[in-house]
Symmetry: C2
Subunit: 362 residues, 2 copies
């Protein structure tokens, strides 16, 4: 029921996707009459889906707390999320209210053991292919251990999607020298350097310029800076797309040039199309939830669902659970870590590498 | 002496600039022999400049603390900065080591009264013209009052450059709703809303996507997120420029199209050229210092010097001093503000608007 276009974009998107991926089946949560009306002339989808009627739909502008009050248990959003908990579905996808979706997902599914806070992972198109950037806005601020958790979550997502055994990980920072940056980031770097994990390769600090160059497969940041990076990249792409359009329309010669190079421009547009990379993945919860852009059209929504299906097939949730168990089993509680609530002191001070507890799997 | 290309880029840049701006004169700090050699065939610059020999040049990879130890008082960098303090020059420009430049500038010039920390302001090309984004990396983290100070600094810079009496200001955040974001940002918003300053118009939160759309003339952020936004935009522009080149070379037809639209592509390249917006402005110090990109070629360095000259002519330093005095004269010390060191409580709790102390100038 969510998103700017509701079932009118979502359902045709699924119909098209079924043309390419006929193995998918859908549980559709929403107002039965609306859904049945929209699905009538979509034969593939009709055959591949079950409609679950819900009375309540979360509005796009509802505050998360309000959505939880009015929509818990009975809204289409809640029931879709819950279907991943009960294993009726492998993954839930919504184009609805992001804040409400995160609040409901956290409330319904809870964070995994050893995870304090969930993260949102985004696919970032790079000159080499794709990277994963997280957190792009689930929470604001993160301490060193939370950043390390994000590295583990992001690496698991990269392994599920990119077919790489040991993806590279960078920490987003304002410089690549060791001395630069926030204390939390420096401490996370120390932990990642000293704990050699078999499921990721830590490559050091990366800057904003490095993300699109594909310097690492995974880029880790706390949610405020990560969200600003993602939105700034979107804005810059939009701005430059506008410049290009202006330039191509600026003279008769440029318009003729455009006609000649039409195919090239079409391919360029596809490469720059934000719909290609639609889908924010909620990571660290006991259930898989993917958020589509609210403004997504049918094609973009299909991209988010396709991503969701890839993650489910790549067994993301099991990978994450295994990686977290392994990491935290190796973790030696720091003396006094219960009392000490400063950002960096809750974690064992880098002696695990020396005591030979890391890297058993290599 | 600084930058990747040293005097070989810097001096020809000045020569070209003098062709357009014959009113400028230069004090050149560096190794006399090197500078005299490079200036020999630059007649305009030779006539318009005085060479000051210095023995020490700060290396590009020196740590700030090390640069301060070895280069204080006697390096070209220090002496150029000092010339703004002694009023021999109106503004200092360097393509050298950013960290060293900031450390030396802060040490030599000191922050202005009522300013805790300097900021670096950057010019950001937008679809409407240009915006100023600060802080892009002088310091990491900022409390609410520091963010308000940045708003004042940025607005003064916008007035000096853009010929606007009352530039618009936005706070960079992860959403535009009041409830979103870091506590410091929310508190800064409250102060900016309640204190109606005659020198700026506060417009609310802006997101990463809004910067390039020119939603406000000034975008305020703490230095970590601001630096990440700037670098991410640079990286995205580079990435898309690469995509465009690939597309235009992808087929015979696209190459023919490129030939036809050549002029349009030239204009597009100019619009996207980072050299156009070269120059980070150190704000909040008792002297004006502009940092050029280290990798700047002659043209880009000239752009930074041209910006520096515009700021000096726009009387930036006086504007800032006046605005800060006005703002802080209106500021009522909060009860217990000395004892209370939390992020938001050191500032008067928004009663200034009610007591009629703001906006006397309107």
């Amino acid at each position: 029921m969510g998103g700017d276009h509701g079932p009118r974009a979502i359902l045709p998107g699924l119909e098209t996707l079924l043309g390419k991926r006929s193995d998918l089946t859908f549980l559709l949560y929403g107002d039965r009459e609306t859904v049945e009306g929209a699905i009538a002339d979509l034969p593939r989808l009709k055959a591949a889906s079950t409609i679950h009627h819900t009375e309540v739909a979360v509005a796009m502008d509802e505050k998360p707390s309000q959505a939880l009050r009015s929509g818990r248990y009975k809204s289409s959003m809640w029931q879709a999320i819950e279907s991943t908990k009960t294993r009726e579905s492998d993954v839930a996808v919504s184009a609805g209210n992001t804040g409400a979706l995160m609040a409901m997902a956290t409330f319904c599914l809870r964070t995994m053991a050893n995870i304090d806070r969930p993260a949102i992972g985004a696919i970032w198109p790079t000159v080499k292919g794709e990277a994963i950037v997280l957190d792009v806005g689930a929470t604001i601020g993160a301490d060193a251990v939370q950043l390390v958790d994000f590295a583990i979550l992001g690496a698991a997502m990269a392994r599920a999607l990119f077919d790489k055994d040991c993806p590279t990980v960078g920490l987003l920072n304002v410089g690549t020298e060791d001395i630069k940056g926030q204390e939390e980031v420096k401490e996370a770097a120390r932990i990642l350097r000293e704990r050699r994990m078999p499921t990721l390769r830590y490559r050091g600090f990366v800057e904003g310029t490095d993300i699109g160059q594909g310097v690492t497969d995974v880029v880790v940041s706390e949610g405020f800076a990560g969200n600003i990076a993602l939105k700034t990249a979107e804005g810059t792409a939009k701005q430059l797309g506008g410049y290009l359009r202006d330039a191509m329309q600026s003279s008769l010669r440029s318009r003729i040039g455009y006609l000649f190079a039409r195919d090239a421009f079409r391919k360029l547009r596809e490469r720059m199309d934000p719909a290609r990379a639609n889908g924010g993945v909620f990571l660290g919860l006991n259930g898989l939830v993917v958020k589509s852009h609210g403004g997504a059209n049918a094609e973009a929504f299909a991209a988010a669902v396709s991503l969701a299906a890839d993650l489910a097939k790549g067994d993301l949730q099991h990978r994450i659970r295994d990686d977290l168990d392994k990491f935290h089993a190796d973790r030696i509680p720091a003396p006094g870590s219960e009392e000490d609530s400063t950002q960096t002191d809750g974690f064992v001070r880098g002696d695990s590498a020396e005591t030979g507890q890391s890297g058993q799997k290599t």
